[in-house]
């Protein structure tokens, strides 16, 4: 047990280290120079003495005037102290503060949509497997849903429910007429604005999970134990229950692996609905060439995904004791 988690933690630590290093490397090894870009934005050219002074000043401010190895160490040092730099776009707010305001919206959007789509998708997929008419309706629907780009489903929902039918608002996290406060009308407004982005994330995830479960159940029903039970005359329900339990395990792994995709989906969904989470910030950061904000968002996404993966790992061990043996035994 201890060895299993020790190994897992090592992988996570390595992943975090690599991701953070990538985060540090990209701006420094890409063509172009953030400081120059920043100065170019306010149309300061390189020729005058004043601009050279500005360039030197900003290079020093962002710590770009020391050797690379030193920059790398400073970067880690700042990170450990919770310093992600200052946002250029929302100057002079520190990036950590900007992120803090955005994260609750992401959690509110992602946690329910991931969990619900996983639960409902698995239930539906299990129903659909090997039942002719359900399979002929649920499966194509599931495939169409997983094939849908997140933002397009978002655009479609926003257009139908927001513009054509006027049922839901399509922008922001709460009504523009309100200030955040603890009242029923504000909570209602929050929920109203939350529903459409949630629904589009839920639907795409639902399709993928349902398909995954359907295929797994079909494989399970082909397995020897299912045939054996059938030959013994066991009721269909019992066999299906066994198949469902066995198929659930790969689905948990699948959930961990699909997190990155879901997070990316949430980013664009937030852009469509102007929902003020990390995705929306990221877009603002990109449009304003706010490198510190972009880096901060990236780091935050990494930490979130790693954390979620870890939770899934723990859940997996609790559900299936075989993994412990599998991990320490080193089989494929």
């Amino acid at each position: 047990m201890l060895r299993y988690f020790g190994r897992k933690l090592l992988i996570y630590a390595l992943t975090f280290f690599l991701a953070v290093s990538i985060d540090w490397m990209i701006p420094r090894f890409m063509p172009g120079n953030p400081v120059q870009n920043m100065l170019a934005r306010v149309t300061v050219t390189q020729t005058t003495a004043a601009s050279q002074k500005l360039y030197a000043y900003y290079s020093h401010l962002f710590g770009l005037d020391v050797p690379l190895w030193q920059q790398y160490l400073t970067f880690w040092n700042n990170l450990i102290h919770g310093n992600l730099g200052t946002s250029v776009y929302l100057f002079p707010t520190p990036v950590t503060k900007v992120l803090q305001n955005a994260v609750p919206y992401d959690i509110a959007l992602l946690v329910p949509s991931i969990l619900l789509s996983w639960y409902a998708g698995n239930k539906f997929g299990a129903f659909a497997a090997r039942s002719k008419w359900l399979d002929n309706t649920v499966s194509p629907l599931g495939y169409i849903l997983t094939a849908t780009p997140y933002m397009w489903l978002g655009i479609l929902l926003a257009w139908l429910f927001g513009i054509v039918w006027h049922i839901f608002p399509i922008a922001g996290a709460y009504s523009f007429l309100m200030l955040p406060n603890l009242s029923w009308s504000f909570v209602g407004s929050l929920l109203q604005h939350w529903f459409l982005p949630f629904a589009s994330l839920f639907l795409v995830g639902f399709g993928g999970q349902a398909i995954g479960m359907r295929n797994l159940i079909i494989y399970e029903l082909e397995a020897d134990y299912a045939t054996y039970l059938e030959a013994l005359g066991a009721p269909k329900r019992l066999i299906r229950n066994y198949a469902f339990n066995n198929a659930l395990l790969p689905q948990i792994t699948g959930l961990a692996l699909s997190l990155g995709v879901v997070v990316a989906g949430a980013l664009v969904t937030e852009v469509v609905f102007s929902y003020p989470g990390i995705g929306y910030l990221l877009l603002a950061g990109i449009q304003n060439q706010d490198y510190f904000l972009i880096q901060g968002c990236f780091l935050f996404i990494i930490i979130g995904v790693l954390l979620a993966n870890f939770i899934i790992d723990v859940a997996y061990v609790m559900i299936d004791p075989r993994t412990r043996r599998g991990m320490t035994g080193g089989t494929a």
């Binding site: 495939y143 927001g162 995709v261 852009v271 469509v272 060439q289 995904v305």
Partner: protein
Amino acid sequence: MNNPKKTNEFVYFALKNKKVLLGFSIILIFVLLGLIGPMINHNKPLDYVDPTGAHPPSADYWFGTTFFGQDVFSQLVNGLQATFLVGLLGGGIGTLMGMLIGFVAGYRGGIVDEILNAFTNIVLVIPTLAVLLIIAAYLQVRSVVTESLFIGFTAWPWAARAIRAQTFSLRNREFVDLARMTGMKSLKIIVTEIAPNMLSYLVLTFILQFGGAILNAATLDFIGLGPTNTISLGLMMQYSVLWGALQLGSWWWFIPPGLAITIIVGALYSMNVGLDEVFNPKLREL
């Protein structure tokens, strides 16, 4: 393993499988649309052919015009070319990288496998799109080809993992042992003995990578990090949302690109399921 009779059998079942046929015909139709479209419609996708605001579909402009008077049909057919290029190139690179790492890790085993596997697991956990986002954000000029390269080089871990597991199970089979005993080089064993035996698997992997690359490209384009010098389906969606097509009710602007992506990727998935049934006789009935 490459006897002609077996290949014929696969072709026979593939041609009888409705899912394969449906998926394949849809893809073919869209490929043709992307190739022939620009020939029958001479409007350049980014030219302002009718700058009098957004017009609904008409005889002149089959899919209407954008807010700036660009021809939506022309954008769509030209965007399809970019979509297929990204799918082929990005999906192809992803599959090749996956094969390279999967074959080596699975066949070699031991310490090589441990290292490659750890590396794969690490890259698998990092949300690749986030990496793509920052790379793209720092590149000032981007083309469809660079976009495909980046997508391909970040999409391989899935493929590598699956191919490694398959190679692992084939590695100790008798015919591979036999080949090893005859003194065949490792590379040759992988190419002539192992790869043909999991060809079906590789085909399915490529199809999934193809679809994944298209969806990833759409996401990148939509967030404003797509190619800077051309049109694509994702860029069409970005422009439509950016210029208020939703509020103005210009549905002909944002529905076609997303619908095209959904249908293409859906058709790929359908082909994937159908081919799975073709290759795996156990799934064929029903």
